[in-house]
Structure formats: structure tokens, C-alpha cells
């Protein structure tokens, strides 16, 4: 069953119950009011008749009191009974229920009213005891027919029996229409979602004429979710595209070199040179693949396999030693100033890669014969490592982009794959640290890594 039908059904059911209850109460209240009014009239009439009786002395007689109308239509029957319940006098011919009236009158030691049904007659009776000198001598009974009230009640019931179903029917139609209108955006949303495909991530669900109601907000929320999904997919596609480009370049170089070499017989020196170039390109590819694996693992964000507390000085000194080989080749000096006793938490040996990458980067861009400084120190409760070179530096508008994957600062030689700094940032992020690049005083780039200090050893 559709929500639309269910909504309407519940709506109609609730409304029918409510209207039924209201109609029922209305009839009860109406009848009670009518009966109370009748009782008031009967009481007034009884008082009137009784007052004439009492002034007349001992003999019980109506003295011509009471109307001559028949009891049947709007009229009344006034009966006077002695203490043993015999009819002494009456205003008119006794009604069919006269025996019941007599019984009621005889049983009354106090003034009271009651409804009586006898055969087809439905009567309201009020009995008033007649007391003479403290002695109850008889009973005065005033009787009126309840038929007019019954008729009015039936008419009211008839009207309600017609009006309530009509009202419910109108409400049902209105409710269905309302539910249809309210739920139409859901159907639009469903169709839009049905048309959504992985090939076109730009499509969105929210229609142009979007209202700011619950469904509008739902559509916008879903669209915001799709934005995030599309962003992630695009980022992944770009990464895959960049990765394949980066791998294709060394492959293209190797294939071109090898196939050129095979075109004709060559000297041993030529072959040697070709194989050396191929080996170097293969090593470069291996570095790229390794970098991609590190990034893929970082993306998967699996919990670190092991975390180890390490001394920053040990870590940095090892990185400096590794970087020195290529630094000396270029006539570069690496000056280090490392504070002792700073302990940091190293996840899966990742920090070593961060400092290696930063030093590699510095060595690559530093001009021949210049100096590279590496500083490890406590700073603002964190452990700070800065690596400074005196190379060309990074223009301010490039600084946020150097950490992007495959990003290369325009105008620099394309030796690396542009992954080193991206990897460094991923690892620093995973260690709850921060990495940024600043300008070195006097020109060049300074990379600053802040890591949480786990403890300090004196």
C-alpha cells in the first residue's frame, strides 16, 4: 500500500472516529437538555396543581385543574392517586400506561421524575406526594409524552448520519490530494535518483523549483552528499590518471630506448649505455610505484601496525647520513642543530620517510655548493623539525599546492614524480602533526614539521 493511501486511510479513520464521537456526544447532550427542560416544565406544573389542591381541604380532587388536551400530542395527563395508588381523579382519560403510572405514583414518597415506556407510549412522569398535616394522603402525577423529544432526537440523528459521512468523504478526498501533493517531490526525487549514473557525476537531485520544506532539505542534503561522493571520485580519477601518466613516462623512455637500440647492431659501449639508462629508469619507476603504494595505504587509513617511541635526534641523524651521499656529490653542506631528548611516537617507521623526503627535496633544489640546515627542537609544546635550503624557494601562491600529489612547481626539472611532499604530508597528518613551507631568510624554502612530543628525556 502506498504511503499516500495509508496516510489518507489513517486520516479518514481518525476523522471518522472524532466526528462520530462528537455526533454521539451532541445527541446525548441534546437529549439531556430537552429532558431537563421538560422536567422543569413538569415541576412548575406540579407545583401549580398542588398549590390548588392544598388550599381545598381534605377531599382529594383536581377541582377541574389540568388541561383538557389529550396526552397524545403535546398535551398532558394529570392524575391524582390516593395513598394506596388508586386513581382518584384525572384531567383526561388515562393513557395506556396508566397502570405503570399508578405504580410509580404509589411508590413515590418524595418528589421525583422518571421516564416510562409502556407499549408504544414513551412518557415522562413527575410524581409529587400530597401531604396533609404531616400525613401523606396521596400522590399527584403529571405525565407528558416523550414522543416530541424522541422525534427531534431522531431527526438530529438523521442529519448527523448524513452529514458525518459526507464530511468524512470530503476530508478523504482532500486528504488524498494533500498527500499526493506533499509526496509528489518524493516521486520526482526518486526519478532523479533513478536517472543518476556513475558516468555523469554532475547531475543533482534537487529540482529547480525547490521549496524549503522537509523534502527540499532532504534533496539538498542528498545533493550535498553526492557533491562529496563526486569530489572523492574525481580526486581518485585524477590520482589514477596522474599515476598512470607518471608510470607511462619511464615506460615510454625504456621502450623507446630499447627499441631504438635493437634497430641495428651496435657496439658494446652503446649497449652498455642503453642498459644503464634502462636500469636508471626502472629504478625511477620502482620509486614511483613505492610512493603510490604509500599513498594508497595512507588513503585506506588503516590503523598503524606498530607505534614506537623514538628519539628525534637518532631519526634525524640517520636521515642526514643518508642524504649526505648525494649532497657531497653536489658540493652541498648539511648543517644540523638537533636538540637531544625529544621523544616522538613513530607509526610504522613513517617519520624516517618524511625527513628523507624533505632532505631529498632540499638537496634537489639547493644550488651547488650551498648549505642545507636541519633543526630539531621543542617548540610550543610540540617537536619541530625544519629543513631549509637556499634554492629558488617556492612562490607564495604555490605553497599550498606543493603538497598536492604529482604537483611540480612550474619551471623545475621533472626529475621526481611529485610524490615526495604529498607522502610527507600524508604521514605527518597520520601522526597528528602539521607540515608547512615558508621562505628561508635570504631566499630558499624552509619546510617545517610540527609533531606531538610524547615525552622528553632529560
Amino acid at each position: 500500500m502506498s504511503i499516500r493511501l495509508r496516510l489518507t486511510a489513517w486520516y479518514v479513520l481518525t476523522l471518522a472516529i472524532a466526528l462520530g464521537a462528537v455526533a454521539f456526544a451532541l445527541v446525548i447532550v441534546f437529549r439531556a437538555a430537552m429532558e431537563r427542560q421538560l422536567d422543569d416544565e413538569l415541576a412548575a406544573r406540579a407545583a401549580q396543581v398542588a398549590s390548588t389542591l392544598q388550599s381545598e381541604g381534605s377531599a382529594l380532587s383536581l377541582q377541574g385543574q389540568g388541561g383538557e388536551d389529550s396526552l397524545v400530542v403535546g398535551g398532558e395527563f394529570v392524575g391524582l392517586y390516593d395513598s394506596s395508588g388508586n386513581l382518584v381523579d384525572s384531567s383526561a382519560a388515562p393513557p395506556l400506561a396508566s397502570a405503570a403510572i399508578a405504580a410509580f405514583a404509589a411508590g413515590s414518597s418524595a418528589t421525583r421524575s422518571e421516564s416510562l415506556t409502556s407499549g408504544t407510549e414513551h412518557l415522562r412522569i413527575r410524581a409529587v406526594p400530597i401531604v396533609d398535616r404531616g400525613q401523606r394522603v396521596g400522590t399527584l402525577a403529571i405525565v407528558r409524552s416523550l414522543t416530541p423529544i424522541d422525534t427531534a432526537e431522531r431527526q438530529l440523528l438523521g442529519i448527523l448520519a448524513l452529514a458525518v459521512p459526507i464530511a468524512v468523504a470530503i476530508a478523504a478526498a482532500g486528504g488524498y490530494l494533500l498527500a499526493y501533493r506533499a509526496l509528489r517531490p518524493v516521486e520526482q526525487l526518486r526519478r532523479a535518483a533513478e536517472d543518476y549514473s556513475a558516468n555523469d557525476l554532475t547531475r543533482r537531485l534537487a529540482p529547480q523549483d525547490l521549496r524549503n520544506d522537509e523534502l527540499g532539505r532532504l534533496a539538498r542534503t542528498l545533493d550535498a552528499m553526492l557533491d562529496r561522493v563526486a569530489g572523492a571520485v574525481e580526486q581518485r580519477q585524477r590520482f589514477t590518471g596522474d599515476a598512470s601518466h607518471e608510470l607511462r613516462t619511464p615506460i615510454a623512455t625504456i621502450l623507446a630506448d630499447a627499441s631504438l637500440s635493437l634497430e641495428r647492431p651496435r657496439s658494446a659501449e652503446d649497449y652498455h649505455a642503453t642498459i644503464a639508462r634502462i636500469a636508471s629508469e626502472t629504478a625511477r619507476m620502482a620509486r614511483i610505484v613505492e610512493g603510490l603504494l604509500v599513498l594508497a595505504r595512507a588513503d585506506a587509513r588503516s590503523a598503524p601496525a606498530h607505534t614506537e617511541e623514538v628519539d628525534l635526534a637518532t631519526l634525524l641523524e640517520a636521515s642526514v647520513r643518508r642524504a649526505e651521499a648525494s649532497a657531497i656529490e653536489r658540493g652541498l653542506r648539511i648543517a644540523s642543530r638537533i636538540q637531544r631528548g625529544l621523544i616522538v611516537a613513530d607509526q610504522d617507521g613513517g617519520l624516517e620517510r618524511v625527513f628523507d623526503n624533505l632532505l631529498d627535496n632540499a638537496v634537489r633544489y639547493a644550488p651547488d655548493g650551498s648549505a642545507i640546515e636541519i633543526v630539531g627542537e621543542a617548540h610550543d609544546g610540540m617537536t619541530r623539525v625544519s629543513v631549509s635550503d637556499h634554492g629558488p624557494g617556492i612562490p607564495p601562491d604555490e605553497r599550498s599546492r606543493v603538497f598536492e600529489r604529482f604537483h611540480r612547481t612550474p619551471g623545475t626539472s621533472g626529475n621526481g614524480a611529485g610524490l615526495g611532499l604529498a607522502i610527507a604530508r600524508e604521514i605527518v597528518d597520520a601522526h597528528n602533526g602539521e607540515i608547512e613551507v615558508l621562505a628561508t631568510a635570504g631566499g630558499g624554502a624552509t619546510f617545517v614539521v610540527d609533531l606531538p612530543t610524547s615525552r622528553r628525556r632529560p
Binding site: S244, H245, R248, I251, L260, G414
Partner: protein, 221 residues
């Protein structure tokens, strides 16, 4: 034949340049779109080999810009992008051929030969005039059915003269099409090379004639 190679990956560019030089082409190198457009504006190339992904933009824009400037030099586009859309876009922007990286060098060389051939009055893959024949693909030349051994530059000059068989070819044109941008005034050197070529192709009966004050002509037939 003189080529412009536009490729920012230094090692790949070096391998391709070396191979093309072995095939007797004069090769200029450019690493950016700006450099490529500058070189193409100054020199007359017989073909341009153009990488799409360059540090300062898309190589396809270089092809489009060349066509807008009225340059009809054939363009061979190199790319790592190999979707149909990429190839169609590259060709529509003005490339004459498309080669997907990675490629084998002989295929690149064959495509370059085909592109260069298209530009020349003489379009046969094997060039000949009288007793002289030259096969750019196998990089061999014969005179009277006997192979002649030619230095790469001599081969380039002979191929160019054969391609323009019957035309008077100026020293400037030879310089333009057979030397890359690293050499300066050459007219004397060209005379030395052409002199040697004439000796190898029949001496006095060589089909290569000197046109005084202008340049050279390779006789038709």
C-alpha cells in the same frame, strides 16, 4: 629533414632525439608550449613531434596555434592519454597523426617518415633519380645498384635534394632542413657535404648540379 621535438620529460626527449639524429634528421628540442611556438615561428620544420602534457599547457593548443598562424607543418602528437575522445580532440585541433605513449622507436620513426613524405613534392617511400636511390626506412642509399656509405648529414642532404627533385634548392633551404638550431652559418660546410655527395653519385656524371649563385639542383630522371 628538420624536426621539432616538443617533450618536457628530459630523458625521453633525449632518447627520441638521439634516435632521430641516427635517422639523419636535424632535431630541435623544446620543453614548453611557449618554447615550441617560438622555435616554430623562427624555423621551417618538416615535421613537429608534440607531447600533449607540457608544464605550461596542453600541446594540442600548440597545434591549434600553429594552424591559426597558417603553419601547415605536419604534427605528430604524443600522449599518454589514449581515450578515443583525446585522440579525436587532438586530431581536430590540427594534429596530423597521434601516437600513444609508450611507443616503440621504429614506429615513431615510420610515422615521422610518412608525415615528412606528405609534405614533399616527391611522395614515394623510396626515392630515386637516375642511378641514385635512397630508402629512408632502411636508411640505405645506392648508386648504380651499389650501396654507398653516407654520413648522417650527407644522407639528410641527399634525401632532401631527392624529395625536391628538379627544384633549385638554396643553401639556406638545405641549412634549414638538414641542420638543427645549434649550428651557425654553414654555406661553406654545405658545399663540402654536397661535393662529397657528388663524388659518391657518379662524380662528373652526378645528377646533382650546382646552380651558380643560388644553390643546387638534383636532375630529374
Amino acid at each position: 629533414m628538420r624536426l621539432l621535438l616538443v617533450e618536457d620529460e628530459a630523458r625521453l626527449a633525449e632518447v627520441v632525439r638521439r634516435g632521430l639524429v641516427e635517422h639523419s634528421y636535424a632535431v630541435d628540442l623544446a620543453g614548453t608550449t611557449a618554447e615550441a611556438l617560438d622555435l616554430a615561428a623562427v624555423n621551417e620544420y618538416d615535421a613537429i613531434i608534440l607531447d600533449r602534457r607540457l608544464p605550461d599547457g596542453d600541446g594540442a593548443q600548440v597545434a591549434a596555434e600553429l594552424r591559426r598562424n597558417g603553419t601547415l607543418t605536419p604534427v605528430l602528437m604524443l600522449t599518454a592519454r589514449d581515450t578515443v575522445e583525446d585522440r579525436v580532440e587532438g586530431l581536430d585541433l590540427g594534429a596530423d597523426d597521434y601516437l600513444v605513449k609508450p611507443f616503440a622507436f621504429p614506429e615513431l620513426a615510420a610515422r615521422v617518415r610518412a608525415l615528412v613524405r606528405r609534405q614533399m613534392p616527391e611522395r614515394q617511400p623510396i626515392l630515386s633519380s637516375g642511378k641514385v636511390t635512397l630508402d629512408p626506412a632502411s636508411h640505405t642509399a645506392t648508386y648504380a645498384d651499389a650501396p654507398i656509405k653516407l654520413a648522417p648529414r650527407e644522407f639528410a642532404i641527399l634525401e632532401y635534394l631527392l624529395r625536391r627533385k628538379g627544384d633549385v634548392v638554396t643553401r639556406g633551404a638545405i641549412e634549414e632542413h638538414c641542420w638543427d638550431g645549434d649550428y651557425d652559418s654553414l654555406s661553406n660546410v654545405i658545399d663540402v657535404y654536397v661535393g662529397r655527395l657528388r663524388q659518391l653519385t657518379g662524380g662528373r656524371r652526378s645528377p646533382i648540379e650546382t646552380v651558380r649563385g643560388v644553390g643546387y639542383r638534383l636532375r630529374n630522371g
